[in-house]
Amino acid sequence: MRRLLPYPLLTASLLVMWVLLNDLTSGHVLLGAVIAISASNVMARLQPQKPRIRRWLSIPQLIAIVAADILRSNIAVARLILRQKHVRRVSGFVTIPLDLRDHTGLSVLACIVTSTPGTAWVEYDSARSTLLLHVFDLVDEGEWIDLIKNRYERLLMEIFE
């Protein structure tokens, strides 16, 4: 089983992608399975670091939190752009010390931070594990550190570490 499916998650995602792009018929499921299994075996030759998911239960919670935050900050940033001349707004950099070390966790955090309008991932220093963020509407630095650390990092560490 391990030999046939070295990366079960990758195989499953490829199969789902194949079925979504084509039709949900037994022929396509079979063809998709063959392609997914051979592709993940090719991937195994590259020997990438294998992500380990420790707590599946926290994933839906994280998705819900992030979806709500993206919607909220979309509206907030749109409002700030439209009323640019009337509101005083300061944007600036925030340095955040991270405890998360897992590579997959960090890339998911990068996706979250970049997909949330108003925050942009600028630089990650792996030696000191600090993250440099640029915040569009910077009122209180501590608030942003708190947001990243308690809202996202805690859940990501539960899932990946």
Binding site: N74, A78, I81, C111, A120, W121, D125, L132
Partner: protein, 121 residues
């Protein structure tokens, strides 16, 4: 190809709503890109287009084609996934290039390298 007139009113209204929301956010994002003053501020504006801008149009597309073909059409979800996964790559590339330039020019608005900062402390 498709018969847009055949689709029921509720689906047409929902589709129109989501497409308009998506287009609206994209326009506002483009406006921000045009109007904001600094590079780092302008970086935030197109994110509107790649999140709710894209999501609105994709949800509209899912509703429209699912109703029209009377089966769930979900491959738009793949577009959303790939947009989300690839945006950080371009954004980080641009941000770090800007940061590198500003540090080389010793722009005081930009924080110095993390290492140098800690040595000063």
């Amino acid at each position: 190809m498709s018969h847009a007139a055949d689709i029921p009113v509720w689906a047409a209204v929902l589709t129109a709503f989501f497409v308009l929301v998506g287009a609206g956010f994209t326009v506002i994002g483009a406006l921000g890109l045009l109007r904001l003053k600094t590079f780092y501020e302008r970086m935030h504006a197109p994110t509107l287009g790649s999140t709710w801008g894209a999501a609105g149009v994709l949800i509209g597309s899912i509703i429209f084609f699912s109703v029209l073909q009377s089966r769930p059409v979900l491959h738009e979800a793949l577009i959303a996934v790939f947009v989300t996964v690839t945006t950080p790559v371009t954004l980080m590339l641009l941000a770090r290039a800007a940061l590198y330039r500003d540090r080389a020019e010793r722009n005081p608005e930009v924080p110095g390298r993390a290492k140098a900062q800690s040595d000063d402390e």
